[in-house]
């Protein structure tokens, strides 16, 4: 019998476009490995796919995805710890990851609904000083490491880090009102 199982695909394509890269950046931050990060985010999406008929897509999907990806990162790190690899570094990574408290997800606004965020982020990136913007885009858009960017732009790694810091700090200030929600965290901790 022919089966029709493709009708959720457009929805998942949208979710993928909206969240995949952010989630991968998140997973990469905590696992320190791009291939592992890719696997973890793929897994999370497949898990969501399996829940597609019962999942309430009116709830913030982003919260669910972040929570799932984050737990998978911690599980991965704990598994490494059990295996006794890179003991010291892994323990520190777990500590850092656990600071990313799940309460954060509860207050995190659903940025899919807030298309404004993407728009304003793009506009703010455009407004960055030339070298700052170039560094920023090589990192965030092309996914290069700081070392690769340094080579590409023929500057020192230190200079790359400075440019990145300036860019992120500037963006944080410009988008402050949209990030204000994070201040609630202060009350939680």
């Amino acid at each position: 019998m022919p089966k029709v199982d493709r009708s959720f695909e457009p929805l998942f394509r949208r979710l993928f476009e909206r969240y995949f890269c952010s989630l991968k950046a998140h997973a990469r931050h905590y696992t320190g490995n791009a291939a592992i990060a890719e696997d973890i985010v793929q897994d999370a999406f497949v898990q969501l796919w399996e829940l597609r008929f019962t999942f309430d897509f009116n709830r913030p999907v982003k919260t669910w995805l972040y929570l799932t990806v984050h737990n998978k990162c911690i599980n991965f790190l704990k598994h490494q710890q059990v295996e006794g690899k890179f003991r010291e570094g892994v323990l520190l990574r777990i500590r850092e990851a656990e600071l990313f408290n799940p309460e954060f997800f509860e207050v995190q606004p659903d940025l899919l609904a807030d298309e404004e965020f993407s728009k304003r982020l793009n506009a703010a990136v455009e407004a960055l000083p030339e070298r700052c913007r170039k560094t920023f885009l090589l990192s965030r858009q092309s996914g290069l490491t700081n070392r690769q960017i340094a080579q590409e732009m023929d500057i020192s790694v230190k200079a790359v880090e400075r440019n990145m810091t300036r860019a992120l700090t500037y963006l944080k200030e410009v988008l402050r009102d949209l990030l204000i929600i994070l201040l609630i965290i202060k009350q939680i901790f």
Binding site: V4, P10, V41, F53, T54, S142, L171, K186
Partner: protein
């Protein structure tokens, strides 16, 4: 704490020693953590810029798509949970409320139906060439920039007339199409949409046979018109569903958001629809009836399920026939009018769906010459 460190932690480039200091700094003051999380949000969110950087992203998407396409169907017990159909209201007295649902199709329409009955979707170009849409491609997208460049906009030359294209979707398929203006169209089974490769002038006009859901991009002063064989629907940036199958006695438009006007072809009068209203045009009486409705009933198919509210088994089976591409026939007139409410999820096989219906109706079925015959169990 230098912010450089925070950023190096995001890209996972800290030494153990540095990471220890960072973690201690974060743990020492909630203010530090809050600042760090704000920077991190920017860091994560800005990775979305990579979506524009097609190759890697598409690779990830393809991997995901392959996984889900080859995934096993959920096991039986789980299926029963997700897949409900509410019990039926028994017989409708006297059959007076019969909808003129299956009007005998005219000769030319039969020919059309035959032509669509291949199992692949395709696009007919202006010179009659058919372009088959590859199986794995469910979304057809037009690059409006490329289209306008081809048309000479970039060079400031006058516009060439756009080529008219026709997208044909057979039984058991559905396709999503993004038009040159960014409007999105979900085209249901056994449907065809004629549209220009890009829009010129003050009206964006497409014509539809069958069923489609539209999410129309607003474009100042440029209305969007869906023409069907008897009526047209005019919109200004909105989401709505149009059902205009050639073999059905009704043509309908259901509005989800925004505002649209419906008009009989050739007539001057228009009827405005408000959100959650549905206009039904009777081909026989040449009249519109407008009423409030549950839009989910008419738009659920784009999400992969069908929702019914007190519809006859005949209607339910007709929708299933389209969705699955299997001929099904009810040979008992009483059974045909059996009413149903509920949801049917289309990821199940047709037989599984029939089994669920069986829970609510006194029916049986058998396969005969590649056709499913539905019988009254009590006979």
């Amino acid at each position: 704490m230098s912010k450089d460190w925070i950023i190096r932690s995001f890209s996972s480039e800290l030494s153990d020693h540095e990471r220890k200091q960072l973690v201690e700094w974060l743990e020492s003051d909630p203010e530090n953590l809050a600042g760090y999380l704000r920077l991190k949000t920017i860091w994560d969110e800005s990775a979305q810029l990579q979506v524009n950087n097609k190759k890697d992203f598409e690779q990830s998407w393809n991997r995901f798509r392959n996984t889900i396409r080859h995934a096993k169907h959920p096991n039986r017990t789980r299926r029963l949970v997700v897949f409900r159909i509410a019990a039926s209201v028994a017989l409708v007295a006297g059959l007076t409320a019969t909808l003129l649902w299956l009007v005998p199709a005219k000769q030319e329409e039969l020919a059309v139906a035959k032509e669509i009955a291949t199992d692949q979707s395709y696009i007919i170009t202006a010179n009659g060439e058919k372009v088959i849409i590859a199986d794995e491609q469910t979304e057809v997208r037009y690059d409006s920039l490329a289209a306008s460049r081809n048309a000479g906009i970039a060079e400031g030359q006058p516009l060439a007339d756009p080529q008219m294209l026709e997208l044909v979707v057979p039984r058991s398929r559905r396709i999503t199409l993004v038009l040159a203006d960014g409007s999105k169209v979900w085209l249901n089974s056994e449907s065809r949409l004629r549209y220009p490769e890009y829009f010129v002038g003050n009206t964006r006009s497409v014509s539809l046979e069958g069923e489609a859901f539209f999410d129309v991009t607003r474009s100042e002063g440029k209305s969007f018109v869906v023409e069907t064989r008897k009526i047209s629907v005019e919109v200004y940036g909105t989401t709505f569903n149009v059902t205009a199958y050639a073999d059905e006695e009704q043509i309908s438009a259901t509005l989800v958001e925004g505002s649209v006007a419906v008009r009989e072809n050739g007539a001057l009068d228009t009827r405005m629809l408000k959100p959650s209203q549905r206009a039904v045009y009777s081909v026989e009486n040449k009249t519109f009836t407008v009423g409030d409705t549950d839009t989910e009933l008419y738009t659920s198919w784009i999400h992969g399920y069908l929702k019914f509210s007190s519809e006859s088994l005949q209607q339910v089976i007709q929708k299933l026939t389209r969705s699955y591409g299997i001929s099904m026939e009810i040979n008992d007139p009483v059974l045909r009018e059996h009413k149903f409410s509920g949801k049917l999820f289309l990821q199940e096989s047709a037989i599984d769906v029939l089994k669920v219906i069986q829970l609510a109706a006194p029916m049986d079925y058998r396969e005969e010459n590649g056709k499913i015959i539905i019988l009254n169990k009590n006979e």
